[in-house]
């Protein structure tokens, strides 16, 4: 039931997220795009769970938990970088470039 449309929406969301990660330069936006990709994957899990059993839905909780932890760490890093460099533009965060 709705498996095809759900997967299509999921794919579109994932592509948008990927494009955002690749094309945007603002670290916050990229961070949000990563969240978008995670949620696209969550949608896929939920869609398949209707047919293959509940274990897919359990996975979604794990992903949400990990995403929350990641958001906490990621935002902390971005804040630290901003304090140091006064910008969150990734083009200027190139300290490790050889």
């Amino acid at each position: 039931m709705f498996l095809g449309p759900s997967l299509a929406v999921s794919a579109v969301l994932f592509a948008i997220g990927t494009a955002g990660v690749l094309l945007r330069r603002n670290a916050i936006v990229i961070f949000m795009c990563v969240e978008l990709m995670l949620n696209a994957v969550n949608l896929t899990f939920v869609a398949f769970a209707q047919r293959l059993g509940v274990s897919g839905q359990i996975f979604v909780f794990f992903v949400m938990a990990v995403a929350a932890a990641e958001a906490a760490v990621g935002l902390a890093v971005i804040l630290a970088v901003y304090r140091h460099k006064e910008t969150v533009d990734l083009q200027h965060i190139n300290l490790l470039k050889g």
Binding site: T18, V21, L22, L23, R25, L90, N94, K97, G98
Partner: protein, 659 residues
């Protein structure tokens, strides 16, 4: 194992090898024990001679039709190529063994006196023993590779002994020249061996010669190629045109070495090889004509150079080249016995001449040494009238001179006449051989002339050594004159070895060698001469020899000759002959310099610097750098770019996986 004394044949080369090892150890230890060195050096060769006599007696008693082969160990067992370390006793190797150990012993004894005061006494005898070992390996080998080992070994010893006094650059250069020119010939020998293996599937003499008439078409390209390549090896080792120029320079070595290696034994190895391979040469008439032609040309050419040399040893060196040419006329004509006969008589009289010249040089050197003069002890212009001071040497050298000039009944007359007769007889079918005969006669005339010249300038007329030096001239000690007397007797009577039937002899050597030469002789049509023709030929040869001697006697003015330091330079043809037809200069200009130029300008500056260093070494490095630079362009440091590449990669892998 035959159960006879022939089983002891391994001792013949082993004893000189033992002598080399012991004397080599003594030389390295820097000992002053000359007595021990002499006992080992001379004793080992004398013992080898003793064993040889027993072996040859056993061979004569058995008189087998085929060679007696002794297999000692497998040397090169490679698939179907089975080469063993095999020695063979047959009539030819018996003759060569006797010459090598017999003449070798005499020269070893002579060396005891000649080298007595030399610093490198032990080293000298070690090398001389090593030479005898390799020479015996050469003549005893039962297959081409074993002979080749001896062939290379004698070349090495030749190099070591020519450059014996290596502190003078000239001597070291002469050694190198000999070695390098021999290498050119050895290349021919090697390729010939490869071809023999390809066509007959074996390298053993008995198998190769048995298969050759079937496996190789008579007169075909294969057998002609093989024999010509073998002959190229012979021209190097036996100093024939075009590779003869090393031999005169080889006189830089001690005089007994010149006698042993560069007159009596090593340089005859080429003649031996042709005689050994007589079946192959009999199958290739073209090669026979080449061998005899080169021999005849060399005989005449070298004789002309000998006319104008002043160094006593150089005259003898060119004489050796010339006489080797005679031997090649003999074996090239198919008269193997005649060639070997001349090899034997030449070993006697040329060893005598060289040792005699050694005795002269010894006396001259002592005279100049006593008065601290720095004159050339080998220049005949500084000699003259030495017969008064060295009567034994003079008498014995006259015997050798008459022998080499072909005056009966001395040994050289019989052997030389036999070669010329054989060449003339072959002329009945092919007129080319008449030309060779003519060359041989002309060379005989010149031989008689230059040898008489050498004797007159050295031993007769007024003495030019110098008034103060004269009192110091004296005959050599008995240890040196003794071997001369033995060689003198051999030079005088050596002809009885092969007295022709014409004068009531039994052609003993020819009949003795028949088991070896029969297979080849069967392939060449025999040419018999009428007895009257033979007598006429003998008459011509003797007349020519006498004409040379008398001509020299009448033409040369001994009273006007001045010592070397006062001599005026030669002019005209005399200068050309004195300069050896400028052959060394021509070789230098045509071969050495172009090779040096190509090596310098092309091989070094273009090939080595440009191709090997440039394209090879630096090119590889440059290619790596370009690839590295291209790779480093990917490392932009832009995270976005990495991410794009990552996504592209993932998409690509997924596309492949999901297909």
């Amino acid at each position: 194992m035959t159960g006879t004394a022939m089983d002891l044949v391994w001792l013949v080369p082993a004893l000189p090898l033992l002598g080399f090892l012991l004397n080599g150890a003594l030389a390295l230890s820097g000992t002053r024990l000359k007595g021990a060195v002499t006992a080992i050096g001379v004793g080992s060769v004398l013992a080898s001679l003793g064993v040889t006599v027993f072996v040859v007696r056993a061979l004569a008693a058995a008189h087998p039709e085929a060679a007696v082969v002794f297999h000692y160990w497998d040397w090169m067992p490679v698939g179907t190529l089975q080469v063993g370390y095999d020695l063979q006793v047959d009539q030819l190797s018996a003759v060569m063994m006797l010459i090598v150990t017999g003449v070798g012993s005499l020269i070893h004894i002579f060396s005891v006196g000649y080298m007595h005061d030399d610093e490198g006494y032990a080293r000298y005898f070690a090398f001389l023993n090593l030479f005898v070992f390799f020479m015996l390996t050469l003549v005893l080998g039962a297959n081409f590779p074993v002979t080749f080992v001896g062939w290379e070994g004698v070349g090495l010893c030749s190099y070591l002994l020519i450059g014996f006094w290596f502190t003078e650059k000239m001597n070291a250069d002469a050694g190198k020249k000999a070695f390098i020119m021999n290498r050119i010939g050895d290349f021919g020998f090697l390729v010939a061996m490869f071809m023999i293996w390809q066509y007959t599937g074996s390298l053993d003499y008995s198998t190769v010669f048995a298969k050759a008439p079937v496996a190789l078409a008579a007169g075909g390209g294969a057998v002609t190629g093989i024999t010509l390549l073998l002959f190229l090896g012979c021209t190097g080792k036996s100093a024939q045109i075009p590779l003869y120029t090393w031999l005169p320079d080889a006189m830089a070595g001690p005089t007994p070495v010149s006698a042993l290696i560069h007159a009596a034994t090593m340089v005859t190895a080429g003649v031996f090889l042709v005689a050994r391979s007589n079946v192959l040469f009999a199958l290739a008439p073209t090669s026979q004509a080449v061998v005899a032609g080169v021999g005849a040309l060399t005989a005449l050419f070298a004789a002309t150079i000998a006319l104008k040399q002043w160094d006593i040893k150089r005259v003898l060196a060119y004489s050796t080249v010339s006489q080797l040419g005679y031997m090649f006329v003999g074996v090239g004509t198919g008269a193997m016995a005649a060639g070997i006969f001349h090899l034997a008589t030449h070993a006697f009289f040329k060893a005598l001449l060289f040792l005699g010249s050694g005795s002269v040089i010894h006396a001259m050197h002592h005279a100049y040494h006593a008065t601290h003069a720095h004159e050339d002890a080998q220049d005949m212009r500084n000699m003259g009238g030495l017969a008064r001071f060295l009567p034994w040497t003079a008498t014995l050298m006259w015997i050798a001179t008459l022998a080499i000039a072909g005056i009966p009944p001395f040994s050289g007359f019989f052997s030389k006449d036999e070669i010329l007769g054989a060449a003339f007889a072959r002329g009945t079918g092919q007129p080319l051989w008449y030309l060779y005969w003519g060359f041989g006669l002309a060379a005989a005339l010149l031989t008689a002339f230059y040898m008489t010249r050498l004797m007159l300038y050295t031993f007769h007329g007024p003495n030019r050594t110098g008034a103060r030096e004269q009192v110091h001239l004296h005959e050599a000690p008995w240890v040196m004159t003794g071997p001369l007397v033995v060689l003198g007797a051999l030079s005088l009577a050596g002809g009885v070895l092969n007295l022709p039937a014409l004068v009531g002899g039994h052609a003993w050597l020819e009949r003795w060698l028949e088991p070896v030469t029969a297979a080849g002789a069967a392939l060449v049509p025999a040419h018999e001469l009428a007895h009257t023709t033979e007598w006429v030929l003998i008459g011509i040869a003797v007349a020519i020899g006498l004409a040379g001697i008398i001509g020299a006697w009448r033409l040369l003015d001994l009273t006007t000759l001045v010592p070397a330091r006062d001599a005026k330079p030669e002019t005209g043809l005399g200068r050309v002959l004195w300069k050896k037809w400028y052959v060394d200069e021509i070789y230098d200009a045509v071969i050495v310099r172009p090779i040096l130029w190509v090596s310098n300008k092309v091989l070094w500056r273009v090939v080595d610097v440009g191709v090997v260093d440039g394209a090879g070494v630096n090119g590889t490095a440059g290619l790596s750098r370009i690839l590295g630079w291209l790779g480093s362009r990917l490392q932009t440091g832009e995270l976005g770019f990495y991410a794009v590449m990552f996504v592209v990669g993932v998409v690509f892998v997924l596309a492949r996986a999901l297909r």
